[in-house]
Assembly symmetry: C2
């Protein structure tokens, strides 16, 4: 039988109110009491239910934003847009950067999900984080498939992948390589690859895919790109799943005698404001970052009010017609 709040109180030899206070971190509590209650919960493997949490529940007006890294301009612009919109609705934000660090993500979640925040917007890449499964908190995912209870906000990855691939084919290319992130991640971004493969097949062209490991540091990444340019001598163009990698390859292409766009074409993905400012030549697919943030916030607000939401929100992408492809 599932342990109850009463069982914890009994084992810890405290009142139910005290257990609730510990759960909700409210009221004066000695460290000894906190330790006793936590130890009893652990012994019984007690999972607080919503009622117990709401006995002393108070809004924190804090939303957690968990993303791989704000140092990447796509996430930087997304986190900035979310933070500004959340502020306008009276929320502050706690952030975490979780690139390849599932332990950190789990550790944060253990703390955040208890009672430090009102809700969560998650766009991390780590897999098998069990904490999301029974979370009692409103959660919205961006570009990440978590479970059927958590709505996803995404841009139209399939159409983006199709537009990029078709554009290269329309320019007469037949040997096109696609660089993408790890496909074992459950993200709608994988549909860019599916679209590339489908589009190539529809034109009776052979798809060539190359998976780039997220955990590569910048030096190893550059080396990987050099190897690709060296080995795939026959390719006439690359469709890259993000603009930073596309811009790095654009830089390296010259080393291998490739002239962009004369004998080699490159199309990126993301189309951040920053990239369009500093590298407007790079042809890319623009994700609607601001609309994604607005939608994520409106869906989170519905969740906070216990209003129904859809499972998936797909927003349109646009082509940025640069000169590289």
């Amino acid at each position: 039988m599932k342990p109850k709040l009463e069982d914890v109180a009994k084992l810890a030899n405290v009142s139910k109110t005290t257990v609730s206070r510990v759960l909700n971190n409210r009221g004066y509590l000695s460290q000894a009491t906190i330790d006793k209650v936590n130890s009893a919960m652990k012994t019984l493997n007690y999972k607080p239910n919503t009622v117990a949490r709401q006995l002393y529940k108070k809004q924190t007006h804090i939303i957690g934003l968990l993303f791989p890294t704000v140092a990447n301009p796509f996430f930087g612009e997304l986190v900035e847009a979310l933070e500004i919109k959340l502020y306008n609705q009276g929320y502050k934000v706690i952030i975490g950067n979780y690139m390849n660090d599932p332990e950190k993500e789990m550790h944060y979640l253990d703390q955040l999900l208890s009672n430090q925040i009102d809700g969560l917007i998650v766009g991390t890449h780590n897999q098998n984080i069990k904490q999301y499964e029974n979370a009692q908190l409103p959660i919205v995912a961006i570009d990440r498939i978590m479970n059927e209870d958590i709505p996803i906000i995404e841009s139209d990855n399939y159409n983006g992948g199709k537009m990029a691939t078709e554009r290269l084919i329309q320019q007469g290319l037949t040997k096109i390589l696609h660089l993408h992130g790890p496909t074992d991640l459950e993200t709608p971004a994988n549909r860019r690859k599916s679209a590339y493969v489908d589009t190539m097949n529809a034109h009776h062209l052979e798809p060539m895919c190359y998976e780039v490991d997220f955990s590569l540091n910048d030096i190893n990444k550059k080396e990987t790109f050099r190897q690709i340019l060296k080995e795939y001598t026959e390719i006439e163009g690359i469709f890259v799943s993000n603009d930073i990698d596309a811009a790095m390859i654009l830089q390296l292409a010259y080393e291998f005698g490739k002239k962009v766009p004369d004998n080699f074409k490159i199309i990126g993905y993301d189309g951040t404001q920053m990239m369009r400012n500093i590298q407007p030549d790079l042809t890319t697919i623009i994700q609607p970052i601001d609309d994604m943030a607005t939608t994520a916030l409106s869906v989170l607000t519905k969740r906070l009010m216990n209003d129904p939401t859809k499972n998936e929100y797909v927003l349109p992408v646009k082509l940025w017609e640069g000169t590289t492809g």
Copy 2:
């Protein structure tokens, strides 16, 4: 005479403990009580002192990071480095983006400084935020001069400005323009401009400075850069105070028949990892972002322990030898 906690309790007709609870947001409190106490504090213009706050003070293990915008890669990489290092010391971070929004900064501070965080790392650009003056909280500034009680972490802006200017002069340029941010901001970054002016004067060359407004949107900024390239026909090179602007000018230069580096040279500033990856041609001054984050954290830790700190920590910069200048 300065109003005391007792005075607030008397006017609100509650106990001193209740006032302290409201101040520290601890224990069960009805909204009516909270409103009564807040109203009494406002009437008396009561400022909580440390003792009142510490009566119920508890560590939140949250640090606030206030920066202009994480969408700019310099701040994105800095905030990421700070967040990761703070996590490793057991802290979570609340962020705020305050580009040109002093009201938002003030509003956050009113809330954060009360008792939601243990400390603050600030790199915002807004002026005259009175809340910092008597803050009872450990604060560290990055690239911002606040007051003599708040230590500053910065890179060696003067030497960076000197290195950039001397490099252009050594390459035979005599007509060099310097683009910088608003000089009425109290930031050590202004020393880049001083160094430029001093270095030009030392070589008997005429300094030419142009101030770029931070509040320009991207379209207006691009238009401003076009105007500069159009009007300053005689200049042979530009030293720009940040890489994003430098990269935008590099893009626009071609429109005006300028060939970089043949008849026009550009040097930027910041040298983020991202820019060195995607635009390695851009000559720039590298700020030691990771060292700045490490130092900020070690100084903040000293403040949290009430250990003495220096007023200013200056870290060395490096030249990134690109091909643009």
